[in-house]
């Protein structure tokens, strides 16, 4: 499932000052490809992710996922698209605090009214080595465990595109490496088109391609 971005631009206004965050950005991520996007703080990485996720609208340009340009879609259509085809992993995990691990993971399937949500969630959590933590709440899990739950939640719907925002940013180096190893193995296994925003060059090198976001443009990195 490919992700194609054409001439994407986004600006904000701070008072009367116009700030160009993304300017005429183009990229093509092939189906099942895993790409990394690096950039300094404030370079617009999160903005790019939120545009791809349909959580914000660009000022111009196209975002084509699986031959569907999501830019002109209505709020309702893009939400439905996100439920069906797209997943997110956040740096701060953003798990629902009053849901257990298995409930957090089955949540996207419940939103899609899938009947065997908990079974699928349980299977994926076991794959991620959390079979003994199914009924624990987020505040009872370690950081690494929380991030694995977040990853499971993102993968449980077999999304066409997965967007990860600093997935190891809140973890120590060792845990982060282990979690990301697991993560990358899973996305390769599911052949999920993946975009990872990260500061971590080691992680970026493990992806098939890497880009640097600078001055609103994506520049491919040759390691």
């Amino acid at each position: 499932m490919s992700l194609e971005i054409n001439a994407l631009s986004k600006h904000f206004f701070q008072g009367e000052t116009k700030i160009d965050v993304l300017h005429d950005l183009n990229v093509l991520v092939k189906s099942a490809e895993i790409v990394a996007i690096l950039g300094q703080s404030g370079s617009g990485k999160s903005t790019l992710l939120s545009l791809i996720a349909g959580l914000e609208k660009p000022n111009s340009g196209k975002i084509i996922i699986d031959d569907v340009n999501i830019v002109p879609l209505s709020e309702r259509q893009v939400t439905q698209f996100r439920a069906n085809s797209l997943s997110l992993v956040f740096q701060q995990y953003h798990l629902i605090s009053h849901l257990t691990a298995i409930e957090n993971v089955s949540l996207p399937l419940e939103i899609l009214r899938t009947s065997d949500a908990e079974l699928r969630a349980e299977a994926l959590l076991k794959d991620l080595g959390l079979g003994h933590r199914l009924h624990h709440f987020p505040n009872q899990l370690s950081g690494g465990e929380c991030q694995r739950v977040a990853i499971a939640r993102a993968l449980v719907t077999n999304p066409k595109v997965l967007l990860a925002d600093e997935p190891s940013g809140n973890l120590d180096i060792d845990t982060g490496e282990k979690v990301m190893e697991t993560f990358l193995n899973l996305v390769r296994k599911h052949k999920t088109t993946t975009v990872i925003v990260t500061h971590n060059e080691n992680l970026a090198r493990k992806c098939q391609r890497s880009f640097r976001l600078k001055a609103g443009q994506l520049i491919e990195i040759n390691w």
């Binding site: 703080s41 404030g42 990485k45 999160s46 992710l49 939120s50 996720a53 959580l55 914000e56 709020e75 309702r76 939400t79 439905q80 996100r82 439920a83 069906n84 997110l88 956040f90 740096q91 701060q92 953003h94 798990l95 629902i96 605090s97 009053h98 849901l99 409930e103 949540l107 996207p108 419940e110 939103i111 899609l112 009214r113 505040n139 939640r153 925002d165 600093e166 940013g169 925003v197």
Partner: protein
């Protein structure tokens, strides 16, 4: 999915949802209690209405019913009926122990057609009881008050007019008098055939003649009533059905229920305040999760459905503590009512009442929470990403979003009070007072920003917390102030009334009020009294008449609407369907003053071409919709007299001096057939007793009301009525406390981080405790003081508007309320903070 999500939201956040349910249920308890009481009362009336009327149909008038009027009735209702005639009138009963005003009910053998009179010695008198004792000899059945008031016993004799009666038995239960709160005079049942011999009914005497009918075929009764009214047009001719009799008999209780409903509504408003606060907090704490749901693909409308479903379920859950609370409160309320009426209603909670309460709970919850839910539209889930800081804020920018809730409150006020006037005043007062309290609270909180530097740090932190968290502080302030206002209102009004009567008692309140004095008895009466140096004061003529026209339009009988009717409509209909008593004076007394128009003191010149002038009492004019300049036409014994409304007066009715709704100029009615009313000044009890006995002996038709005793009875009844109102007010205060508890508890929880940070910086736990105690005690103290002083302001207005008297301030309730509220707030703060204050600050460092 929606239901599953909603249910999960509730049980996974059970603690805050528990407070939500508790707040909501406290507000509903008062409403459901009063509604259950009213429903039981209505059911009782409807099941017993025939027993209350003692007939299927009754016609009556405060004069003799003419043969034509009676024949019209008989022609329309047909032949297959039983008929009974009754006279009701005031008279004096005389015994060796003294004299007392009684209400004589002269009945015949067939009374009562329905219901019964239970006698102390055992017999139960009904229609079919043979050989009723009062028809076998001059005997009487009397109400039991006379046992204590005149020391009467069964078998003893007493005089009524010209006849000596034997007290046959005491009436312990009279099904026609089920809701008697207080009466000017206890009832005495005698044989109607003895009426003439008593010599009590003379020209001008106050009496009601009634004909009761038992109708075998009572189909189409409304049509028959319309036909009767179309033939008997005089508005003074009344027809009563069991339904209208039931309504009439319970009117005093209905008024009390209306006021109870309004007080219960205050509890509902306070609980709504607490609920809104809690829900805002709940949504703020969950806004990140809501953003996550949106990022996972949950539609906006699905989110709304989940939270509405949550409110729906919370509403149902709140019914459980509500019904439990009502079942505890209802027996207490009915105990108070039983003290008033001797009626044991045994009110029960009906399914219909529960359903209405639930619908109210659901609608009010939706209206309160909707403004916050609508804010979710502005939620940007994109802020979940790492470079963004997610600091949710649920401020309502536009207060107009709460207008629908206010509209519902207004309709509830009118519906519950059955009065557009009182409902509007209640609503206006509640909103107005809330605004005043809010202004005071913001002013107070603003003043706290100037913190003295020499104060201990924990006190300064407390003041900063209050002044910088204005919204939370305002909610606490408002809840406590309204509760304090309500709880202080009744004692202030009661004390003022009591004091006013006490003052009047010592100075101007008459001891005896005389009425039914014949024209030719006035001089003899004065002479008799002068022998004991007692003047006859405020001698006022009373001329009976009928209002024929207003501004040449016929004055029609008012038919009360069958569906929802306001108390004003009921009162106006009753006023229209009565005869009117006219009087005249040379000068106004000191108990009345003209508030608009001109004086009518000048004597009328019959040769003048101008119409005579009339002066109306203020409330009477409002009820009858009469104003300055209106021309009224009266029928006085077949003679038509016109008068123009020249002024409106305010009358102090609690002076117990002769006063009238309508006064005409002196010189207009002087030759009209009339009786007189008058008063006697303050007298010693012994002299009063002697005077009453003498008067009764010499002037048996003249009735005398013991004013002091009547005032005492009225004060006793109002004291008893106030118990039930105070019960509701206490419920409102309890609701305020729960709101306070909820707010303190949730604030302590949300400030855990802050409190633990103080510990990391070196604060002792007792200093932290002082932060919270000082903060909440201070705001509760100031709020309760504010509410108490506003209650003085409101009491002063109510006393003047309702009774025309000045407020007498009593400081004890104010002091005790303020102290009690402040101490309780301190205790709540201690209780809520006990865990957090003792928590190890390591919890914070570990990031939990």
């Amino acid at each position: 999915m929606i239901f599953k999500f909603a249910f999960r939201e509730i049980y996974r956040n059970w603690n805050i949802n528990l407070f939500f349910v508790l707040n909501l249920s406290l507000g509903l308890i008062g409403f459901l209690t009063v509604d259950s009481f009213k429903t039981t009362l209505q059911k009782y009336i409807s099941e017993n209405s025939k027993r209350i009327l003692s007939a299927d149909l009754a016609v009556s008038a405060r004069r003799e019913i003419t043969k034509d009027e009676l024949q019209n009735v008989r022609n329309i209702i047909g032949n297959d009926v039983s008929e009974s005639q009754i006279f009701d009138f005031f008279a004096m009963i005389s015994t060796p122990s003294g004299s007392k005003l009684v209400l004589v009910k002269a009945i015949d053998q067939s009374y009562p057609f329905y219901g019964e009179i239970e006698l102390e010695s055992g017999p139960v008198i009904s229609e079919k009881t043979p050989n009723k004792t009062i028809f076998t000899a001059p005997k009487a059945w009397v109400y039991p008050e006379l046992k204590y008031q005149l020391n009467l016993k069964r078998g003893e004799k007493f005089r009524l007019g010209n006849i000596e009666f034997i007290l046959d038995d005491f009436v312990i239960k009279d099904s026609s008098q089920t809701f008697r709160l207080t009466s000017l005079a206890p009832r005495v049942f005698i044989d109607r055939s003895l009426l003439n011999k008593t010599g009590l009914i003379k020209y001008g005497s106050t009496f009601t003649q009634s004909y009761l009918f038992k109708i075998k075929d009572d189909k189409n009764i409304s049509e028959k009533i319309s036909q009767i009214y179309s033939l008997n047009k005089d508005p003074a001719f009344r027809i009563e059905t069991p339904a209208s009799a039931g309504e009439d008999s319970s009117r005093q209780l209905d008024y009390l229920s209306d006021f109870l409903s309004l007080v219960a509504l205050v509890a509902l408003v306070l609980s709504a305040l607490g609920t809104a606060y809690l829900y805002r907090l709940y949504l703020s704490q969950h806004i990140k999760e809501i953003a996550i749901y949106r990022s996972l693909g949950l539609q906006q409308d699905s989110l709304f459905k989940i939270y509405f479903c949550q409110i729906f379920l919370l509403g149902i859950l709140s019914l459980i503590p509500t019904v439990i609370g009502v079942n505890l409160l209802l027996p207490v309320l009915s105990q108070f009512i039983e003290q008033l009426t001797s009626l044991n209603l045994n009110p029960l909670v009906s399914g219909k009442s529960v359903l209405i309460t639930y619908v109210l709970a659901f609608i009010s919850s939706c209206l309160i929470t909707l403004p916050y839910l609508l804010k979710l539209n502005q939620l940007k889930p994109a802020r979940l990403f790492s470079e963004e800081t997610f600091s949710p804020e649920l401020k309502i920018d536009n207060p107009l979003v709460f207008v629908p809730a206010l509209v519902v409150l207004y309709f509830l006020s009118v519906w519950q009070s059955h009065s557009l006037y009182f409902g509007s005043i209640f609503f206006g007062a509640l909103v107005g007072l809330s605004l005043i309290i809010s202004l005071i609270s913001f002013g107070f909180l603003q003043s706290l920003s100037k913190i003295p530097k020499k104060m201990a740090w924990y006190f300064r932190i407390a003041l900063k917390s209050l002044s910088r968290r204005k919204n939370q502080s305002w909610a606490v302030f408002l809840a406590i102030a309204i509760g304090s206002l309500l709880i202080n209102l009744l004692p202030q009004m009661k004390t003022s009334l009591k004091n006013d009567f006490a003052v009047e008692n010592q100075t101007k309140l008459p001891s005896i009020f005389l009425f039914d004095i014949q024209d030719d008895q006035i001089e003899d009466l004065k002479n008799e009294l002068i022998k004991n140096n007692i003047p006859l004061l405020n001698v006022s003529p009373l001329v009976r008449s009928r209002l024929l026209k207003v501004n040449d339009q016929n004055y029609e009988r008012a038919i009360e609407p069958q569906n929802f009717k306001t108390r004003e409509e009921e009162s106006a209909a009753r006023s229209r369907n009565r005869g009117v008593n006219l009087s005249y004076r040379e000068v106004l007394t000191d108990t009345e003053k003209i508030i608009s128009g001109v004086s009518i003191d000048k004597k009328y010149d019959p040769n003048s071409s101008e119409l005579p002038l009339a002066s109306l009492e203020k409330r009477f004019a409002e009820r009858m919709n009469l104003k300055l300049g209106d021309v009224l036409s009266f029928d006085i014994q077949g003679v038509e007299i016109k008068a123009k409304v020249a002024s409106v007066r305010q009358v102090r009715w609690n002076s117990f001096r002769p006063n009238f709704f309508i006064l005409l100029q002196d010189g207009v009615l002087n030759e009209a057939p009339k009786t007189f009313i008058a008063v006697l000044p303050q007298l010693d009890e012994n002299i009063k007793s002697l005077v009453l006995s003498n008067l009764n002996r010499q002037f048996p038709n003249v009735s005398a009301l013991d004013v002091r005793r009547t005032v005492e009875e009225v004060l006793q009844v109002s004291e008893k009525m106030s118990w039930s109102l105070e019960l509701m007010a206490a419920l409102a205060l309890a609701t305020g406390y729960v709101v306070l508890f909820s707010i303190i508890q949730t604030q302590v929880q949300t400030r855990r981080w802050e409190l633990n940070m103080y510990k990391i910086l070196g604060a002792h736990f007792f200093e932290l405790r002082w932060v919270l105690i000082f903060e909440f005690t201070l705001i509760s103290f100031v709020a309760s003081l504010c509410g108490a002083f506003l209650s003085l302001f409101l009491s002063a207005i109510l006393m003047y508007e309702m009774f025309g008297i000045q407020l007498t301030i009593t400081w004890l309730p104010i002091l005790s309320t303020v102290i009690f509220i402040s101490v309780t707030s301190a205790l709540i703060a201690i209780w809520c903070s006990r865990q957090v204050v003792r928590e190890k600050p390591l919890v914070l460092l570990q990031g939990s």
